[in-house]
Symmetry: C2
């Protein structure tokens, strides 16, 4: 499936409400659950999504759209959320994410991007040239990928509790 | 994590709203998307969850609680939803699921299950003896597993669109 902007916005728009429905009001047994050492809980993942709203998607899109001499992106800090989320309640993080996402989508909509703009590129620190179209598709896929991760992490908490049904739940051993 | 009934209910209760947030109003490009031949779309998965509410979880729990002479479960029809969902709009399926789930959780809460009851067993057609505790943990894990599946299937629609970022998105090749 090619990136079609309205389809992409349809996902990006709903992630805050999906996160609220999935996690809002849950106990720490679920929201702080992990799937092994050095893996991320739903709480940590929400912080990671917040960091992306602040430093990654729209800032990178701006670098591409401006087409300045230096179009190299700042590397994504994959651990920022361990500092930035520390001690905050999840409800506040969910609100913060919703607020940042809404503001970013307002910017994206106001740009009213043309196909020519979507084909412009910036420089990823590892991959080299990447287009705005690829960046926006990755934003969408990144949301969905982390939703899949959260639900997998939560499911795994019952790996032993399900008994023999584990054989029917490949997610438990993924 | 052992099954603790309030934690389990906290997930079972919210799945209808999570599904609505994730899928309600989305275009068929997303809701009919699959990850390969003979795999399930989000639309098909919602039908599968509905079938479970009708025929599986509570009916099996009843068989266990009644402790009759024949405690063998009816096998789960994993393909019922291809017939039962055919031609129905997704919005109607989401409502139907929410309605069935709420009714089933009312029954579950009214049972006010004791630890002794949770330890009772029925006979799974393939696994043999399984406890009510294992059945209820599986109900929860089954919800979460299918949420992970839906979001994975949706993410994969952008497998090519993300370009080189595919290397950072292991979900694309899972």
């Amino acid at each position: 499936m090619d990136l079609h902007l309205p389809d992409a916005l349809d996902i990006l728009d709903r992630t805050p409400q999906t996160l609220r429905a999935l996690l809002g009001g849950l106990t720490p047994e679920w929201t702080d659950a992990v799937e092994g050492p050095d893996t991320w809980s739903p709480f940590i993942i929400v912080g990671h999504l917040i960091h992306g709203e602040r430093t990654d998607w729209i800032p990178r899109a701006r670098i591409i759209l401006e087409q300045g001499a230096d179009r190299r992106f700042t590397p994504y800090d994959r651990f920022a959320q361990f500092r930035e989320s520390a001690g905050k309640p999840l409800a506040g993080l969910l609100d913060e994410f919703a607020h940042l996402r809404a503001a970013n989508l307002t910017i994206l909509r106001e740009w009213n991007l043309s196909d020519e703009q979507l084909a412009l590129s910036g420089e990823h620190p590892e991959f080299g040239a990447v287009t705005l179209r690829q960046l926006l598709a990755t934003w969408v896929a990144h949301d969905l990928s982390h939703l899949a991760q959260m639900t997998r992490v939560m499911a795994k908490q019952y790996r032993d509790a399900v008994g023999p049904w584990r054989a029917y739940l490949p997610i438990m051993d993924r």
